[in-house]
């Protein structure tokens, strides 16, 4: 398939328009940055939206403490190069303060715990808009998300009472205490994001490319056996494989895929031919059919 770039261009124009609406309609916006490809794409779009001025809002990373080290290195370098402000809030602090309890056992993850840390940070800084890299193609509950999605004081999503969004018009009017989650790349697919990264020649963390890694197999998925973050039973044997990651969330819920894609063009080709969805390697969505919707109602991104 040889597609021209006009469809990526129209998605880019739409996302830039949304970025500018955020800066204009809100007093304290923030861009939620995870170090993943979607949030890196958001940073690129924000840079383009406000050029030659700097991005008029900070980035914030909700750090689970279970990040791939490559992601953190990458994050710090990006922020420095672009001269941006970075706020980091740690899930570990929420655990230490007794606000959340660490999960234990075979499928333990800090993914759910992020919500509390995020909501506390929103309150601490009085953020009224949080820009995120969620896409409608990721998951079926996300397919119903608006571009401007209003959250109440508790960060909750009232999915049955969402504001209609017509034409290009984004209604950012909110009451004190409410905030809006903004999704500028709502209409992008995983392939669109990769095609954009390729077209714009955007640098991304090395774990997105094929590399040798110590891993173990469980439930037909490949888990990182490095850094000791993922719980591993003794009988689960460690092997070395050539893998890459399609998403880079919390290490404890992000599985790797076998891949020999060492460059962006190879990754784009691999995704085009792939028959497994991106979140197919995310164990947090597999907990139940309604896993994502439940987490979103509670304030998860």
């Amino acid at each position: 398939m040889n597609k021209d770039t006009s469809h990526i261009n129209s998605l880019e124009n739409e996302a830039i328009y949304i970025m500018r609406e955020v800066a204009a309609q809100f007093e304290k916006p923030v861009l939620l940055f995870s170090g993943g490809k979607d949030s890196i794409t958001l940073v690129r779009l924000a840079v383009k939206a406000f050029y030659p001025a700097k991005i008029p809002f900070p980035l914030m990373h909700i750090d689970t403490g279970h990040n791939f080290p490559e992601t953190i290195e990458f994050r710090d370098r990006l922020v420095k190069e672009l001269g941006l402000e970075l706020i980091v809030r740690n899930v570990q602090d929420s655990i230490d303060q007794g606000k959340v309890k660490e999960e234990t056992g075979r499928y333990s993850s800090r993914n759910q715990l992020q919500t509390t840390t995020l909501l506390d940070a929103i309150e601490e800084f009085k953020f009224d808009a949080c820009i995120g890299g969620a896409r409608r193609d990721e998951e079926k509950a996300r397919a119903k998300e608006r571009i401007f999605s209003v959250r109440d004081d508790f960060g909750q999503w009232d999915e049955k009472n969402q504001r209609p969004e017509l034409f290009d018009m984004l209604n950012g009017n909110i009451e004190l205490g409410q905030n809006v989650r903004v999704f500028p790349i709502s209409n992008w697919t995983e392939l669109d994001v990769w095609s954009y990264i390729e077209k714009e020649n955007i640098e991304i963390p090395s774990i997105y490319f094929a590399h040798k890694r110590k891993v173990f197999l469980r439930d037909g998925m490949i888990w990182s056996a490095e850094d000791g973050v993922v719980y591993r039973d003794e009988h689960e044997e460690v092997i070395e494989e050539l893998v890459r990651f399609r998403t880079v969330g919390d290490m404890s819920c992000t599985a790797a895929v076998l891949s020999d894609a060492v460059s962006i063009s190879k990754v784009v080709q691999e995704i085009r031919e792939s028959t497994i969805s991106e979140r197919g390697a995310r164990i947090d969505d597999k907990r139940s059919e309604a896993a994502m919707e439940k987490r979103k109602q509670q304030g998860y991104f």
Partner: protein, 415 residues
């Protein structure tokens, strides 16, 4: 290649979600893990077929009730095009979602159950697509397998629908009829041998050929200023750029322009897209413009070509589609958001309610309820710069925001 956005409309149980699931399945857009999930759930429920609606009905309540209650966006692509389908609900009470879905779509699929034919809901779906001037409409007559693939049934439904077409305001629509069975996959992506009497294209074949080039191209250039870019750095010390999206037509360097509302004249100096300078900004591109003269421009102002001004007025009349459970009444106040511009508005007069099933109008109206469509005159606290909706899709539409709840409570199309 660009993205083709399609809205779907149909009544409860017309099989919309099944149709979309079928398109995804037959175009091999369903990934193995999603397909496995559908197979597993279909089996658990004891179905002897794959329930493709499971692919799109995203919310728990929907899966429990087996119906679609909110707009879901579905993405797939073929070698030729990328598609975004807005799957909109068919219930009377969710008309607002249908208006929403249709507002961003270039084409619409209206589903009709072959056993039921054209019903009141069909009239409404067609009415809304007509009100929003959606250019391409496919009437998919579904469940043909349940009427023995009867040509006679198909012809009867087609004739009934054609009777509706004479009543529409907007005659520029292209309407195509296709007999399908979403469940069996007849004429959706693949041609069927069950209906040899039908010689037209399959649904996907038709969608592949829709030319969306001029759908948003009507009207003249309008550039609402979204954001003023002032870097205040040494390199860009005096830079004052106006960021926004171009609607309607192109803007080029050297164009004589007028800034509204001040009506100050100037010329376009540069057009930036990031660090590149463009000679021309094409429609729907998000650019930053600088002007030859140092004049005062702020968010909400509009840059237009000299000699090509929109209407500048503190009042207008529009067809309003009401979306809130609290009624719209004469004398009440709302925020009108016209593009990016927000102004306070008062309902000056409600002229009449329009029956969205083409059965006429009500002139004795006290209030406008949810899903009602009415002709309303608004007075504004300051002027806006608008075109008629029929001449300019973006500059002729607006939304209404409740001043207390901040909710989007209605949408309007300026007459």
């Amino acid at each position: 290649m660009e993205v083709l956005k399609i809205a779907t409309a149909g009544s409860v149980d017309d099989g919309k979600s099944t149709l979309i699931g079928r398109i995804l399945y037959d175009t091999k857009s369903l990934t193995t893990d999603k397909l496995e999930a559908i197979e597993k759930t279909s089996k658990q429920r004891g179905y002897d077929y794959l329930d493709f609606s499971l692919a799109t009905d995203g919310l728990v309540a929907e899966r429990e009730q087996g119906i679609t209650i909110d707009v879901a966006h579905i993405y797939f692509s073929t070698a030729k095009k990328s598609y975004i389908i807005a799957d909109t609900p068919g219930h009377v009470e969710y008309t607002r979602n249908m208006v929403t879905g249709a507002s961003t779509s270039q084409a619409s699929i209206i589903l009709i159950d072959a056993r039921k034919g054209v019903i009141e809901q069909t009239n409404r779906h067609f009415f809304i697509n007509n009100l929003l001037r959606v250019k391409d409409i496919v009437v998919a007559i579904n469940k043909m397998d349940l009427v023995d693939y009867s040509e006679e049934t198909y012809n009867k439904i087609k004739a009934d629908f054609e009777a509706l077409m004479s009543k529409r305001d907007y005659q520029g629509q292209k309407i195509t009829f296709i007999p399908v069975s979403a469940l069996k996959g007849d004429n959706v992506v693949n041609k069927t041998d069950k209906m040899p009497w039908y010689e037209g294209q399959t649904l996907l074949e038709h969608l592949e050929e829709i030319d969306k080039a001029d759908i948003f191209n009507i009207g003249t250039p309008r550039f609402p200023v979204q954001y003023v870019v002032r870097p205040k750095t040494e390199e860009f010390h005096d830079f004052r750029g106006y960021a926004g999206k171009v609607y309607g037509g192109n803007l080029s360097v050297g164009d004589d322009i007028v800034v509204l509302p001040s009506q100050t004249k100037s010329k376009i100096k540069d057009i930036y897209f990031y660090d590149e300078k463009y000679e021309t900004a094409s429609r729907r591109s998000s650019v930053t413009i600088t002007l030859e003269d140092d004049i005062n421009v702020s968010r909400g102002d509009m840059i237009v070509k000299d000699g090509d001004l929109p209407t500048i007025d503190k009042q207008f009349t529009a067809n309003v589609c009401w979306m809130d459970s609290t009624q719209l009444t004469a004398g009440s106040k709302y925020i009108v958001q016209h593009g990016i511009n927000k102004v306070l508005a008062k309902v000056d007069a409600i002229h009449h309610k329009i029956h969205p099933d083409y059965s006429g109008i009500d002139t004795e109206v006290s209030g406008i309820g949810v899903n009602d469509i009415a002709s309303v005159t608004f007075k504004l606290n300051k002027p806006i710069f608008y075109d008629q909706f029929k001449n300019h899709r973006t500059n002729g539409s607006f939304i209404l925001i409740d001043t207390q709840t901040n909710n989007t409570v209605g949408a309007g199309f300026i007459q």
